[in-house]
């Protein structure tokens, strides 16, 4: 979709900010390259570029637009963020640092001590650290708060043991948020604590996971007496911190994750995706009725994904839609995407499951194998959340909330 700026709406102060941003970025930031993935943790050079970009923004007084000044930010408004986004359109931004902005800063602003905030937030704005979120566990699946990684105090240190998984960019991260169980005799949600850990230290093994489509953006960590650096919030008060973390993740997902990447910027016209049209032409089926129906439907589905995300963002901003709409938009996006992939595979026929010997995976077929992963939880959890929090339907019957965690049936210790 074409993007136009909203410069005509600028106040004089806003316009000054716009011109400052425009001037600083020109020539200093890497160009936005169409088709380049916004994250690819296997591309170490790109990760390094993004760290540098963040430093350039810091040097230009453009880092942390809405972050309070006392923590190194600019203390400006959402409107300034939009202006920055418009001016940043020609450039690649520090997209691998998305966790810092979307998750860690909001979590720290809400729960960290003054000292923690003053130490860690400016470092993020300078691009010194990439932060990871270590939340999910192999034994846990969608039951996030059923985690079994243990933290124990020994000789004045908190030592963590267990395994975490689905950590985006774990291998390249410097710091991590790590939720662990500190008291298994308390009910499930009550015995958790949020730790801050250094990712590169003895006892921490980080292993990238290869997924079915060949990407390696996620990692698994094995923690063997890993020493925690600090605690965010209270001991056994981790659930509150993690809730902020999850809410921040949902909100960021519906906003589009990072300024300049996403769906939240105003678009003026519907974008016609090139892929289905090109595929129909390349395959020589552009004149058959069914191919034309498929191409038209794929165009519709892609537009719908964009429109539903925009609507959610606009509604939340205006206060006419509840924040839970973010999950609804995620689910819609996933469903629409799956249907599009099904149609593209039909369009390609046998050409979708084979390709030149030297190429990568046959594109259409692998799209059917590869599921569109929903950040922040599986589709099933999203449906639970939507039905209970967005639609207000009753929760299911289940083991009581007050049962001590060590009496629950878990994957590590099956009930007998």
């Amino acid at each position: 979709m074409s993007i136009t700026t909203t410069q005509d709406r600028d106040t004089p102060e806003e316009n000054a900010f716009r011109l400052k941003a425009r001037e600083w970025m020109a020539g200093k930031l890497p160009p936005r390259i169409p088709g380049q993935p916004y994250m690819d943790w296997d591309d170490k050079e790109l990760v390094a570029t993004d760290r540098m970009t963040q430093r350039v923004l810091w040097d230009g007084g453009l880092a942390g637009i809405t972050v309070p000044k006392e923590y190194g930010g600019l203390g400006l408004t959402r409107r300034h963020e939009t202006i920055f986004g418009e001016e940043a359109m020609p450039y690649r931004l520090a997209w691998h640092l998305g966790n810092n902005y979307n998750i860690v800063i909001p979590v720290m602003l809400a729960h960290a001590s003054e000292e923690q905030k003053q130490r860690w937030i400016p470092a993020m704005l300078r691009g010194d650290h990439i932060w990871a979120q270590m939340t999910s566990e192999p034994s846990g699946g969608s039951d996030l708060f059923g985690l079994i990684t243990r933290a124990e105090q020994r000789e004045g240190k908190w030592l963590i043991n267990g395994s975490k998984i689905w950590t985006t960019g774990g291998e390249d991260s410097d710091m991590g948020l790590c939720l662990a169980r500190t008291d298994p005799s308390l009910p499930k949600h009550a015995g958790l604590t949020m730790f801050m850990v250094e990712m590169r230290q003895p006892g921490m093994t980080v292993r990238p996971l290869t997924l079915v489509n060949g990407t390696r953006d996620f990692c698994q960590e094995f923690l063997d007496d890993v020493e925690a650096l600090d605690i965010i919030g209270e001991v056994n008060g981790g659930w509150a911190v993690a809730s902020t973390q999850l809410a921040a993740e949902r909100a960021a997902t519906s906003r589009g994750w990072y300024i300049g990447v996403g769906a939240s910027l105003p678009r003026e016209t519907i974008e016609i995706p090139d892929a289905p049209i090109r595929l129909a032409r390349e395959l020589g089926v552009a004149e058959t009725q069914r191919a034309r129906q498929i191409v038209g439907e794929v165009i519709a589905l892609e537009a719908l994904r964009e429109l539903v995300a925009q609507r959610a963002g606009k509604g939340v901003d205006a206060g006419t839609l509840p924040p839970t709409i973010g999950g609804v938009a995620s689910l819609a996006s996933s469903t629409l995407n799956q249907r599009a992939s099904e149609l593209m595979t039909e369009l390609a026929g046998p050409c979708g499951v084979s390709g030149p010997a030297e190429g990568g995976e046959p594109a259409q077929g692998i799209d059917r194998v590869w599921l569109f992963r929903i950040g922040g939880g599986t589709a099933e959890m999203l449906r639970n959340t939507i039905s209970e929090r967005h639609l207000g339907l009753p929760r299911e019957a289940g083991p009581g909330k007050d049962v001590p965690f060590n009496q629950l049936r878990t994957n590590a210790a099956p009930a007998t």
């Binding site: 129906q293 498929i294 191409v295 038209g296 439907e297 609507r311 709409i325």
Partner: protein
Amino acid sequence: MDVVLSENQTLLQQATRRFVEARHTVSQTRKLADAGETMAKQAWADCAAQGWIGLFVPGEHGGMAAEAEGVIDAAIVAEELGRQVYAGPFASNAVAAFAIAKSGSAGQQAQFLPSLASGDMTATNCFAGTGAQDGLAPTGLTATRSDGGYRIDGAAGFVENAAGAGLFIATACAGEALSQFLVAADHPGVTIEPLRALDLGRSLAIVRFDGVQVGADALLGAPGSGAAAFERQLQVALVLQCSETIGLIDRAFEFTLEWVRQRNAFGRPIGSFQALKHRLADHTAEFEAAKAAVAYAAKAVQNNAGDAAIAVSIAKSQCGKQGVEIIRDCVQMHGGIGLTWEHDLHFYLRRAVANQSLLGTPAMHHERIAALAGL
């Protein structure tokens, strides 16, 4: 409708809801259907007095177009009417008024717009031929030059609210180009053949033009300029149809949520069963996409934007499909009671199916999108 409405739009929405819930609920539609009747002329005039048609009519002809965002405002009305499966000739008259206001001569505007705005007369478009693949192009009529005027022949299918209409907008093939004509319903050679409609609150007919001789003054717009005008009218009609579907889903979903919350089975509300909850979550997501698409399309058509044509087809694709899927599942979640004649749900579902199939099926719109995208 859009997630951000202006103050005027909010007032229009609230006023329409109050009016319809007081006077034109689905029970009224049921009564008319049971009696085999269509809405009485006076009842329609009362509706028109709400200003619904006037949204497209300039002030000097009794309307309020200057203060209105015609297409978006009419879409707000259509959505409210959908919520009660309203049975009057709203959309057909709104599109006719739009057509005459945009393309009519000063004389035509003065002659027809006041009575359309007041509801004293109704008019309707002949959008399609009579075949299974019709709905997106005026394939049924031809016009040939004759006696200093034109002779119109052919048949238009699926014409809404033709019975009782005073005026037809006929789009006819004249050689290579399309021309539009205003033809009085009592013009010699015009016959109306009522159809039975699945939608019990909808009047459909075939309108036959058998050597209908009209003067050049019957032309709506310049001769041969009909294609662009037809496309614009079709866009407005699609925005209203899709908005109505949004209203249908909105209300059906609303009372389904109420139902699953209060209905018990196996000692607990059926709305606590995960299988139902997950389906309702999926419907919420699809419905949200439908709402986003219709709001976008209404604005694009209102602004005559470059992507208006593609936007209405995207809206139709999603509303056509999900209107039926979501309301069907609402019926399913009601259990047996949802299958009875006495329950209102089938009125909603019938209209959703009709809205899926009229003015182009989703599949026809997919083909249209491909063509618009340059394939």
